[in-house]
């Protein structure tokens, strides 16, 4: 029996797709929301560090699995190898209902006004496809507000003088600082910086019918046992299902976007939970698979009308892949700075996010989420033993004495950092896999150095007796959980993939709604921006639909 035709298909139940599904189904459209993974719950995943989202050595608790998925990664020397999801080079996000929003650290940043106008602010940069967005911060502001109130954010924007202007405060009060964050807060004040509580997609008080956070150590990289972390899996997706208009189809892998004899998009083919190939037709298709998988799906959808993949007439799909270069410093304190009040990160400074002489952009700097015992084994001052008695003693003596100040440096867009589909390697279902190649822009390292210097100074002022920098931004592909940029939006179809509403240029009924749209990735974790874009794309489709537009 075939599937019933619906108004809209949304591919991917993550930060972007979950919101689009809710916007459309509440507006009365019939929706099928596809998710390649299943539900990931705390009971399944627990506090097991070796299978967490941050340390996947024994597998990804939040998907995908090593048995059915793989990618090809091209190294700097031109050699290529197959990489499994549990290996770092895979640049995994997550494959479950809610995707990364189940296990993320849940920082809830709005990008700054400058982030939407990088080219205007910094001028062209050699070797970069740097550009302005086709929308301004002000265009996205109402969508940020929706994300903050409908998903739920705790924070106090009045304490951050560098934050972009806003119409409404956060719906929940900010989190208190733990011992380490208090030290850093006071130190930042003494240095003349402007410390403030990190806005979090996490309940500081009961909100949305869910309880307040219980301040566990195992938060970033794990699911929440009391459901206090706010993702799309426990907010908008349940609303979409309750509307009666949305069917969530889990363990279903979309393989291709369908094109009919007239060159119109008519739906998708997918493999259902029993690996049977199926077809689902719809009036509209929205792709929200994250920067890597969205590009892969478009590139895998080849036909006589789209011989290079859908939306790829000008060879822009998959280019400009970027995540974040994480850069900062560590400090060892004489007294213990650890009081086990999780999840750790709570204080930030945005003093070095833009307007740094000599570099493009910058980033926010924060104290880090609590390090887990195994991941701490890799944290040592340069030249220290990486095993043996000395290493074990350091682990014991300093686990509660080390703090880290770190942040996501805004990378300079590089056209050559890209996602393609591999010509020969296929996944379990026979679908060509993503092939990642390219590297960061060579100037990223300069910005990272500056940020790390600032982080080190901050730790010293807070009382660290020994400090060292961890400088990010080196060679290699940057994607991971912050992956973005592969289907960037723009006004010119020659230098972008979608228009300012996320619609593929020249295809009336195909949209993208995830981090792929980002023209650049901000000096911030991108989750809230991806959510805001979900509200923008979903809101646009719903409002046009109500006016009778059927996107034909």
């Amino acid at each position: 029996m075939g599937n019933k035709h619906v108004n809209a298909i949304v591919v991917g139940a993550g930060a972007g797709g979950g919101i689009v599904a809710k916007e459309l189904s509440v507006a009365g459209l019939s929706v099928v929301l596809f998710e390649r993974g299943g539900w990931a719950t705390y009971d399944d995943t627990d506090t097991d560090e070796l299978k967490s989202q941050r340390t996947t050595v024994l597998g990804n608790a939040y998907g995908p699995d090593d048995q059915r998925y793989k990618r090809v990664v091209v190294n700097n020397d031109g050699s290529a190898n197959i990489v499994l999801p549990s290996e770092g080079g895979y640049n995994n996000n997550a494959a479950c209902v809610g995707s990364g929003t189940v296990s993320y650290g849940a920082m809830a940043w709005r990008f700054m006004q400058e982030d939407f106008k990088l080219k205007t602010t910094y001028g062209p940069i050699e070797g970069s496809t740097l550009d302005d967005w086709p929308i301004t911060y002000e265009d996205l502001e109402p969508c940020y507000e929706k994300a903050e109130w409908e998903i739920g954010v705790a924070g106090d924007a009045t304490q951050n003088p560098f934050g972009a202007p806003r119409n409404k405060p956060y719906p929940m009060p900010p989190f208190s600082h733990n011992k380490e964050a208090k030290l850093l807060y006071d130190a930042a004040k003494r240095l003349g910086y402007h410390p403030f509580p990190i806005p979090m997609l996490r309940n500081s008080v009961p909100y949305g019918g869910r309880p307040a956070c219980i301040r566990m150590r195992t938060c970033c990289g794990f699911a929440c046992p009391v459901n206090a972390k706010c993702g799309t899996h426990n907010t908008v997706i349940p609303i979409a299902i309750e509307s009666g208009n949305c069917e969530l189809r889990i363990n279903s892998v979309v393989s291709e976007i369908l094109v009919n004899e007239q060159g119109k998009i008519t739906g998708v083919t997918y493999f259902d939970e029993k690996n049977r190939k199926q077809t689902q037709t719809a009036d509209i298709v929205v792709v929200s698979g994250s920067a890597t998988e969205t590009a892969r799906l478009l590139l895998n959808s080849k036909s006589k009308f789209f011989p290079k993949g859908i939306g790829n007439e000008n060879d822009w799909v998959g280019h400009n892949l970027q995540g974040h270069a994480y850069t900062g410093a560590y400090g060892i304190f004489e007294d213990e700075v650890y009081d086990d009040l999780g999840p750790g990160a709570s204080v930030a400074i945005s003093d070095f996010n833009h307007h740094n002489p000599g570099i493009m952009g910058g980033g926010v700097l924060c104290n880090e989420f609590i390090r887990m015992p195994y991941s701490f084994t890799g944290i040592r001052p340069p030249g220290s033993a990486s095993w043996g008695k000395e290493h074990k003693a350091f682990q014991r003596l300093n686990f509660k004495r080390v703090a880290q100040a770190v942040g996501p440096y805004q990378e300079i867009p590089n056209f050559e950092a890209r996602v393609e589909v591999d010509p020969t390697v296929k996944d379990f279902w026979g679908i060509p896999v993503a092939r990642l190649s390219g590297t960061r822009h060579e100037k990223d390292i300069e910005g990272c150095r500056l940020m790390s210097e600032k982080a080190e100074l901050w730790l010293k002022e807070a009382g660290a007796v020994q400090t060292w920098q961890s400088v990010g931004g080196g060679k290699g592909i940057s994607g991971g959980q912050h992956q973005a940029g592969t289907c960037r939006m723009g006004n010119d179809p020659k230098t972008s993939v979608t228009d300012k509403y996320g619609r593929i240029h020249a295809v009336p009924n195909l949209f993208v709604a995830d981090g792929s749209l980002n023209v650049n990735n901000g000096g911030f974790n991108p989750a809230l921006t991806i959510m805001a874009l979900g509200f923008r794309v979903g809101g646009y489709i719903a409002s046009e639909w109500s006016k009778g537009n059927r996107f034909k």
């Binding site: 015992p373 195994y374 290493h391 682990q395 686990f399």
Partner: protein, 185 residues
């Protein structure tokens, strides 16, 4: 119809039990005594014990050997680390072979300090001979180091970190639900 199904199922179960029991008896006869290991041999397990004890030595707290790190590695080699089976077989044999030629002894029979020196040479990529070509010394050392750390500092559910020893050493309560801190295995 229903009765027939029931009989079939019972017969099936009876047969399976007999079958499993029979297999068990047979294997006991064939290779006495039964190995407690899944992938490594008895001899390899002794070598691994010495290696993991080098990576995380006993001090005032138990080391890698007593924390069950060898058990962790053995367990993972038949699970997520099946892809490292070949490296382990080859690497452990290479250590054994090198020690036999150089010291006429097994690695685990060397004094602790000499074992440390041996591993430092591996870590530096300065092992000589065909067995260690193409950086295999460094590569295999890293594998042992990283897997030992995972076994010692990861969750006990994976076969290492016996009695939560590393968590206790680092003064961390597990599980971590505030107000419910307790150790349970």
């Amino acid at each position: 119809m229903k009765k027939q199904l029931k009989l079939t199922r019972r017969r099936f179960i009876t047969l399976s039990v007999l079958g499993a029991g029979g297999m068990c008896l047979l294997s006991r006869c064939a290779n006495p005594p039964l190995s407690p290991w899944r992938f490594v041999t008895e001899q390899e397990s002794k070598l691994l014990d010495a290696l993991v004890e080098q990576i995380i030595p006993t001090d005032e707290w138990p080391g890698g050997r007593d924390a069950g790190v060898t058990n962790f590695i053995d367990m993972q080699l038949t699970g997520p680390y099946a892809r490292y089976q070949e490296s382990y077989r080859k690497g452990l044999a290479a250590i054994e072979e090198t020690c036999k030629t150089k010291f006429q002894k097994r690695f685990e029979e060397l004094p602790f300090e000499e074992q440390t020196q041996f591993l430092k040479t591996m870590e530096a990529g300065k092992m000589e001979g065909k067995l260690w070509e193409k950086g295999f010394d460094r590569q295999f050392f890293r594998l042992i180091r990283d897997h030992s750390m995972q076994g010692f500092y990861g969750s006990p559910r994976h076969g290492g970190n016996k009695n939560n020893v590393s968590y206790k050493m680092m003064r961390l309560d597990y599980p971590v639900i505030i107000g419910q801190n307790r150790y349970n295995n």
